[in-house]
C-alpha cells in the first residue's frame, strides 16, 4: 500500500466533489435560515450537527457507489491492479470522512457565531456540553459517514462483479447493514412502514461496532472485486 500511486489521485478527485458538497450544504443551511426568517417568521431552531448528518451520509453513499465505476477501470487502464483500487478506495474514504467531520465541526462553531445556535447538541450523543459532544460526536460522524461510503462501494461492487440480479441481493444486504447501524446507534429504522428503534449502545461501543461493521462491508467488497473482469469502455 506504501507505493500506491492511485491514493493521492483518488483522494484529490473526491476532495473536489466534497468541497462542492460542503459548499452547497452550508448554502442550503443559510438559505433555510432566511426562508424561515422571511416566510414563516417562527423561531428558527436548526442544530447544525443534526442538520448535516443525513445529507453527509447520503453523499458518502453516493460517492461510494460512483467510486467503483469511476476508479477501478482508471487503475487498470494505467497499469495498476484491482488491489491498488480497493486499497485506495479505503484510504480515500477515510480521508474524505475526516474532511467532512472536520468541516462539519467548523460549520457547527461558525453556526453558533453567525446564527446563535446551540453547538453542543447532536442527537447521537446524549449530552449538552460542547466539550462532551466534540470528541465522541466527531468519532460518531467519522465512523458512520465512512460506513456509508463503504456501503455504496459494497453495493456497486456487487453490481459490477455479478450483474443486476445478484446486485439486488447486495442492496438487500446493504439494507440489513443499515438496520444493524440503526440498532447500534439507537436511531429509528423504518422500511415498508415497519419501524425498529432501540436504546442503542454507549457511544464508545457504538463507534467500535460501526467500525467493525464497516470492516465487514469493506472486506466483502474487496473480495467481490478481487478477480473481477474490468469493463473496457
Amino acid at each position: 500500500m506504501r507505493n500506491n500511486k492511485a491514493v493521492p489521485l483518488i483522494i484529490k478527485e473526491q476532495l473536489k466533489w466534497t468541497l462542492w458538497f460542503l459548499g452547497i450544504l452550508y448554502l442550503v443551511r443559510v438559505a433555510a435560515h432566511f426562508i424561515n426568517l422571511f416566510f414563516l417568521g417562527a423561531e428558527f431552531n436548526i442544530v447544525l450537527l443534526n442538520f448535516a448528518y443525513e445529507p453527509s451520509k447520503v453523499y458518502m453513499l453516493v460517492i461510494g457507489l460512483v467510486s467503483v465505476y469511476t476508479f477501478l477501470g482508471f487503475c487498470i487502464e494505467h497499469g495498476l491492479t484491482r488491489r491498488h483500487y480497493y486499497q485506495a478506495a479505503l484510504l480515500s474514504s477515510a480521508a474524505i470522512a475526516l474532511v467532512i467531520t472536520a468541516a462539519i465541526a467548523v460549520f457547527n462553531l461558525m453556526d453558533t457565531v453567525i446564527f446563535n445556535t446551540n453547538a453542543s447538541v447532536f442527537y447521537l450523543i446524549d449530552t449538552d456540553t460542547l466539550f462532551e459532544v466534540l470528541l465522541p460526536g466527531s468519532a460518531a460522524y467519522f465512523v458512520t459517514v465512512l460506513l456509508y461510503y463503504l456501503l455504496g462501494m459494497f453495493i456497486a461492487s456487487g453490481f459490477y462483479r455479478f450483474g443486476w440480479l445478484t446486485g439486488l441481493g447486495f442492496i438487500a444486504a446493504g439494507i440489513l447493514f443499515l438496520l444493524i447501524e440503526s440498532l447500534i446507534w439507537g436511531t429509528e429504522f423504518v422500511l415498508f412502514d415497519i419501524g425498529v428503534i432501540t436504546e442503542g449502545l454507549p457511544v464508545f461501543s457504538a463507534v467500535l461496532a460501526t467500525a467493525f461493521l464497516a470492516g465487514v462491508v469493506y472486506t466483502v467488497s474487496a473480495k467481490s472485486l478481487k478477480d473481477t473482469p474490468v469493463k473496457i469502455v
Binding site: 494505467h78 497499469g79 495498476l80
Partner: protein, 295 residues
C-alpha cells in the same frame, strides 16, 4: 528493458461459451506484432487478458517469467489503448496526460505534446468535446508516449483520417527506433499497416491459426494460376487455402514453404506464380474477401 510474454495453453470461458481455446504464444521485445482476425475472433478478448482486464480460465500467462494477472510488478509494464469512450470526461487532454505521467513510470509528457502537435490535436479542450477521430488520436498519443515496454493498440486508428493514420505509423516506426519495445497492434487495416509488422498472429474463432515471423508468413503465400487440370495436378499435395475458377482457368492460393525447384517447375509447365500480400493470406485463410495478386 527486454520483455518476454508467454501464453501457455490459455482458455477463456464466458459462462458456458468458450471465447479462447488453447492459445499458446511467445512474444518478445523489440518486435511489432500484428494481431489479425475477423470480427469476433477473440482479438480484444486476448488483449484484455494480457492487459489485466480479465483473468483467464485455465493455462498460464507470464510476463518476464512471473504470472501476469494482478501482479503489479509486471502489470505496470503494460499499456492497453483501445477505442475509449470519453463521453463523461470533462478533463482536457492535457490534464489526462498529466495524470498518466503521475501513474506510469515510463510516460514522457513532452513526447506526448510533440506527437499531439503533429496530429494537430488540441489538448486544451475537454475530451468529451473531441470527435471520434480525435479521441483515437489522443489514445495513439497516450500509447506512444507511455513508452510502456509492452504497448498494445486495439484498432487504435478508428475514425482517424488517412493523413492522421500515416502520422501514427510514422511515429510508431520512430518510437520503435528510439525506444524499442514490444508493440501489439490489433487491426483490420492490414495492407496499409503491413510495413510496420515484424510478426503476425492470426486468430480465428478463438484459436491461434498462425503465429510466425512476418517474412516467413509472406514467403509461404503465393498464387498458382493456369489451366484448371494442370493447376489441380500441380497443387494436389500442397496446402491450398483458396481456389477461384474462371472458365477453364483456375487460380489457387497456397500457404506453404516451397523451394526454387518448385517455382522453376511451375514456370516450365506454363503456370503463373504470383506473390500475395498479408491481407490476401488473411482473407484466404479465414475464408472470404478478394484476392489481390502481385505478380
Amino acid at each position: 528493458m527486454d520483455m518476454n510474454l508467454v501464453l501457455n495453453h490459455v482458455d477463456l470461458y464466458y459462462g458456458k461459451e468458450q471465447a479462447l481455446t488453447n492459445v499458446s504464444l511467445q512474444l518478445h521485445s523489440p518486435r511489432v506484432y500484428a494481431l489479425i482476425g475477423r470480427n469476433g475472433s477473440g482479438k480484444t478478448t486476448l488483449l484484455s487478458l494480457i492487459a489485466n482486464y480479465r483473468k483467464h480460465s485455465s493455462g498460464q500467462i507470464t510476463l518476464n517469467g512471473e504470472p501476469l494477472f494482478e501482479n503489479s510488478r509486471q502489470t505496470r509494464h503494460v499499456q492497453f489503448l483501445f477505442q475509449r469512450n470519453f463521453d463523461e470526461y470533462y478533463e482536457s487532454g492535457e490534464e489526462l496526460l498529466q495524470t498518466a505521467e503521475e501513474l506510469i513510470d515510463t510516460f514522457d509528457i513532452e513526447a506526448a505534446r510533440r506527437i499531439a502537435s503533429r496530429f494537430g490535436l488540441d489538448l486544451s479542450i475537454p475530451m468529451k468535446k473531441q470527435s471520434t477521430g480525435r479521441r483515437s488520436m489522443f489514445q495513439a498519443v497516450r500509447g506512444l508516449a507511455s513508452r510502456a515496454p509492452v504497448t498494445i493498440f486495439d484498432e487504435a486508428y478508428t475514425g482517424m483520417d488517412a493523413p492522421s493514420r500515416e502520422i501514427f505509423y510514422e511515429e510508431i516506426l520512430k518510437e520503435q527506433e528510439n525506444h524499442p519495445r514490444l508493440i501489439i497492434m490489433s487491426t483490420h487495416l492490414i495492407s496499409e499497416m503491413e510495413h510496420l509488422f515484424d510478426e503476425v498472429i492470426m486468430l480465428d474463432q478463438g484459436r491461434v491459426l498462425l503465429a510466425d515471423d512476418y517474412e516467413n508468413v509472406i514467403s509461404k503465400g503465393m498464387t498458382i494460376t493456369g489451366e484448371s487440370s494442370l493447376v489441380e495436378k500441380f497443387t494436389a499435395e500442397l496446402h491450398v487455402v483458396k481456389t477461384r475458377q474462371l472458365g477453364g482457368t483456375k487460380s489457387v492460393v497456397i500457404f506453404q514453404q516451397v523451394d526454387q525447384n518448385f517455382l522453376q517447375e511451375a514456370k516450365e509447365l506454363g503456370l503463373d506464380v504470383g506473390r500475395v500480400t498479408l491481407q490476401d493470406i488473411f482473407t484466404s485463410m479465414t475464408k472470404g474477401g478478394e484476392l489481390h495478386e502481385e505478380q
